[in-house]
């Protein structure tokens, strides 16, 4: 596998300009002769499809849901970063770049991150022009807040629904292109395979979720914008349909998968309350600005929080990290919550929760002030848990939230399969080992609105593509492989469900294995154990999963089974990746690699690289490749929040 990042020459600030200048273009009149497939209609996919169509390309857009507006991006709450420096508080493109690189614990590519910071300002202008109702100051200018521990206020937001509003903006742009005929929209389609012809991605195979039809779609380039794979853990804050399928199938066709073990675990989620639970709900991180995190000092203390006196409470974050206190970064907060619960100090029925207490803030600022700030979050919490945070402390616990890993891409966001691009959360490019709050929305829109069209023009301008059709052997083969796999999934169903397992039962088993062994804190022993236990779950799945119904109809169990089958395969490189990365960095904590006082210890000597996995075949061990990272504009420093 050849990993050429194709980072443009020149000083950091000039790379993007140089690149755009040296890239080939496609003349406007010729663009309509080219076609692009965009899979996914989240921020990345919708913005890319709309932009490419505006420029004149023929676009086919795909999503699983019944409408492009429902992609998982819709759920993002907090906001989107941009280096506008509207607040005049010392922000700049370089600072956003630096914060992002540092936040990612120096495991991302400088040039990509710098470009992200550069185009961030254009994103805001674009979204404002579309009519996204960002929060405003009384004077009518755009409002900002500080987010995720940043020292400047650079986060733009639309109430607690920033992702929704940004996505509706992109959905509007996409809808306009659908209306104009430039985009053909395929909803309720699940991509099952990438079709590679003569070494280039030339199309996809999809299953029509409504009819079960296996369809081929041909194009000159294929862009994946299929989101993250957090659902490998079964429980996560991701939407139910979020999956690794598209990325995994691309991987099996030869695309490298980078840093699969880098998973962000968000500290403030509503705890699990029962084994029936289907997903976890995020509570905005902003709550930590005023809430104090604590657990009882005594193990197994079953008293109500109000009955536990001050001196029997352990405000562990404030004690351990006096300067950052409750505002330590996500990974540190998450790990410490887990540690407290592992020590038996967790609270609530399951003892897998810690308190987030607003009593002091209410005393200090008054009920009204606190309610004004967090009222809608409190109401959301109360709806779910039936408990009012104004009266008793909230209970929170970490949950899987975002996956930094993804398909390996070069500076142009192209995978190592020519003609196959990956944008948004499904690539690995910008967040290194940890993502800053409010940066995923920024990246999705940067990729879709401002980067991908340049890449596509260059690719089409420099390569001569033959005409292909769905009658080509590669397309026929791909359809056959997909059909065979579905048949294999359904083969157990003959003979009824007796002695078999449902899809969710096995998914929960996989989730538990991953959460326990490849979750917040990892060690060699557990990871090796997981690697050993994984094949048995996989075997159980293929031998005993029971899927009711047929393929030629709406069959939601079959959809889930297909996704789980891919998660089961994918889990292996996740574990292997965690195992081979012997250092702690960002969200990835290896218990073997810690400082004396149990803080994460990065090892730049041995691990300053991107780990890229190559698929070697069904029975073969995956191959590890390395893209070394070099830092010319920043000096990697050890994080310390003490």
């Amino acid at each position: 596998m050849e990993l050429n990042a194709r980072v443009p020459a020149g000083p950091l600030e000039k790379k993007w300009d140089n690149h755009r200048f040296s890239n080939k273009l496609v003349n406007p009149a010729n663009r309509r002769k080219y076609s692009a497939i965009v899979v996914g209609t989240g921020l990345a996919g919708a913005s890319a499809a709309a932009t490419l169509s505006e420029q004149g390309y023929q676009v086919k857009s795909f999503c699983i849901q019944d409408s492009p507006r429902r992609a998982h991006s819709i759920a993002a709450q907090g906001g989107i970063n941009a280096a506008k420096n509207y607040q005049n508080d010392g922000d700049s493109v370089f600072r956003l770049f630096y914060d992002t690189i540092k936040g990612g614990d120096f495991r991302s590519r400088e040039a990509n991150v710098y470009r992200l910071a550069q185009v961030s300002t254009e994103i805001i202008d674009q979204c404002v022009a579309q009519g996204v109702p960002f929060a405003r100051e009384y004077g009518g200018t755009l409002a900002n807040r500080s987010f995720g521990g940043a020292q400047v206020s650079r986060t733009f937001y639309a109430r607690g629904q920033t992702g929704q509003q940004l996505l509706l903006g992109a959905y509007g742009a996409l809808s306009r292109q659908i209306h104009a005929g430039g985009v053909e929209m395929f909803t309720r389609r699940e991509m099952m395979d990438v079709v590679v012809v003569d070494g280039r991605a030339r199309g996809i195979t999809t299953r029509n979720i409504m009819t079960g039809e296996i369809e081929s779609h041909v194009a000159d380039v294929v862009i994946l914008a299929t989101g993250g794979y957090g659902n490998v853990y079964f429980l996560s804050t991701n939407a139910m349909a979020s999956n690794v399928t598209a990325a995994w199938r691309a991987h099996k066709k030869g695309a490298g998968f980078a840093n699969p073990s880098f998973v962000q675990i968000h500290p403030t989620c509503i705890p699990v309350h029962g084994d029936y639970q289907s997903k976890l709900t995020l509570m905005s991180e902003s709550l930590r600005n005023d809430g104090r995190v604590w657990v009882p000092k005594k193990q197994g203390d079953k008293r109500l929080p109000a009955d536990i006196p001050e001196d029997e409470r352990d405000y562990y974050l404030e004690n351990k990290y006096p300067s950052f206190g409750n505002l330590v970064p996500r990974d540190v907060a998450s790990r410490n919550a887990k540690e407290q619960c592992d020590l038996g100090k967790g609270v609530g029925n399951t003892q897998l929760a810690v308190y987030l207490d607003f009593a002091e803030a209410i005393n200090r600022d008054g009920e009204a002030a606190i309610f004004k700030k967090y009222g809608n979050l409190f109401q959301m919490y109360e709806k779910i848990t039936d408990s009012n945070p104004m009266k008793e402390p909230m209970m929170i616990y970490p949950a899987v939230h975002y996956t930094m890993g993804g398909l390996w891409v070069d500076y142009d966001l192209m995978t190592n399969i020519p003609g196959l691009f990956a944008i948004g959360e499904c690539n690995f490019s910008d967040h290194g080992a940890n993502r800053l709050g409010a940066s995923a929305l920024m990246q999705g829109l940067a990729d879709g609105y401002f980067v991908i069209a340049t890449s596509i023009a260059h690719y089409l301008g420099t390569n001569k593509l033959e005409k292909v059709s769905e009658h080509e052997q590669d397309f026929i083969d791909s359809r056959r492989v997909v059909e065979d796999r579905i048949a294999k999934l359904l083969k157990n169903s003959a003979g009824g469900p007796a002695g078999k397992f449902t899809v969710d039962e096995i998914h929960k088993e996989l989730g538990k294995l991953m959460w326990d062994n490849c979750g917040m804190a990892r060690n060699k022993e557990d990871l090796e154990k997981a690697l050993k236990e994984l094949p048995a779950i996989k075997q159980k799945f293929w031998d005993y999963v029971y899927i009711p119904g047929d393929t030629k109809e709406i069959n939601q169990s079959l959809e889930r089974a297909g996704r789980l089958a891919d998660f089961l395969e994918f889990a292996e490189i996740m574990i292997r990746d965690a195992l081979t990365r012997g250092e702690s960095c960002g969200c990835h904590l290896r218990e073997e690699s810690q400082t004396e006082d149990n803080e994460a210890k990065r090892d730049d000597e041995n691990y300053s690289h991107v780990s890229v996995w190559e698929y070697a075949g069904q029975q073969e061990e995956p191959k590890l490749h390395i893209e070394p990272l070099s830092f010319e504009n920043v000096t990697p420093s050890q994080r310390s929040y003490k």
């Binding site: 913005s47 709309a50 932009t51 505006e54 849901q65 019944d66 409408s67 507006r69 429902r70 819709i74 759920a75 202008d125 674009q126 979204c127 404002v128 022009a129 579309q130 009519g131 109702p133 960002f134 929060a135 405003r136 009384y138 009518g140 755009l142 109430r159 629904q161 929704q164 509003q165 509706l168 509007g172 742009a173 809808s175 306009r176 209306h179 939407a239 139910m240 309350h273 029936y276 639970q277 289907s278 997903k279 709900t281 995020l282 709806k383 779910i384 039936d386 609105y449 401002f450 009824g496 469900p497 449902t502 969710d504 029971y546 009711p548 119904g549 109809e553 709406i554 939601q556 169990s557």
Partner: protein, 251 residues
């Protein structure tokens, strides 16, 4: 935490052509902390284990924001709680021994595809007909060069909060899509960015809405009462005004 026993009567329909009917199921020991959809998950696991077809229903985010879930619960869209989607409705709002009737959202423009799963693409087509500001990517002015009074922007945000679940249509005695359409028209009519195409947008979206077979509004207010995002019928008044003005001066 307590648990309750329930009888469910659920609309079952193989596909759009098949005739459907209510089927009765019983479920025991449902935790009251469960969401409504988790309760349906439990039912589906049970049905699967018994070799029966699970109930098809749409859902995705389970946080009340994607707008994918929804059903008629005992005659009310998204169930008895105010301003929640079905995925955010919790079982503590039901009592032990309750019988719950669950039917799909219906309207002339919403064919039932299977069980509780329907086709709402008509709503997408309304947006496609004009529910956006026609700007291409790039070349836009600086965000702060369009000052917008914060009150105005908040009003626009109130309307923009619509999640496109379509409960308004399902609950409207006439199957009208006025609340949905008016939310988008209002958002953009309230913002300076929306002014250029203001009239064209109102005309085109209403025309599309009529073409899709949605009913006529009789100001029955049911839409507002079930809307999980509290979209106000003030938006419908605004749409009426926008449309009247546009129709009299444009086209």
């Amino acid at each position: 935490m307590s648990s309750i026993n329930l009888t469910l009567k659920i609309w079952r329909q193989q596909n759009s052509d098949a005739l459907g009917q209510l089927e009765t199921y019983t479920l025991d020991a449902i935790h009251t902390d469960m969401s409504f959809l988790e309760m349906l998950d439990v039912l589906n696991e049970k049905l699967t284990k018994e070799g029966q077809d699970p109930v098809a229903f749409d859902h995705d985010c389970r946080e009340g924001i994607c707008g994918m879930c929804g059903a008629i619960i005992d005659g009310v869209a998204h169930g008895p709680e105010k301003e929640v989607t079905l995925c955010q409705l919790h079982m503590r709002h039901f009592k032990d021994g309750d019988t719950i009737v669950i039917e799909p959202f219906r309207s002339r423009a919403y064919p039932v595809k299977r069980d509780l799963l329907i086709d709402r693409s008509a709503l997408d087509r309304i947006i496609q007909s004009g529910g956006y500001v026609s700007v291409n990517t790039g070349g836009t002015v600086d965000g702060n060069s369009i000052p917008i009074p914060s009150q105005q922007s908040e009003l626009a945000m109130d309307a923009a909060a619509c999640i496109g679940c379509g409960a308004c249509v399902a609950s409207c005695p006439n199957g009208a899509a006025m609340l949905f359409t008016s939310a988008k028209v209002s958002q953009l009519a309230l913002l300076p960015q929306g002014q250029v195409e203001r009239k064209q947008r109102a005309l085109a979206m209403v025309e599309q809405m009529d073409k899709e077979g949605f009913g006529n509004c009789t100001n029955a207010k049911e839409c507002e009462a079930v809307c999980p995002k509290g979209i106000s019928i003030r938006n419908i008044a605004r749409l009426n005004k926008e449309y009247l003005f546009a129709a009299m001066t444009e086209g």
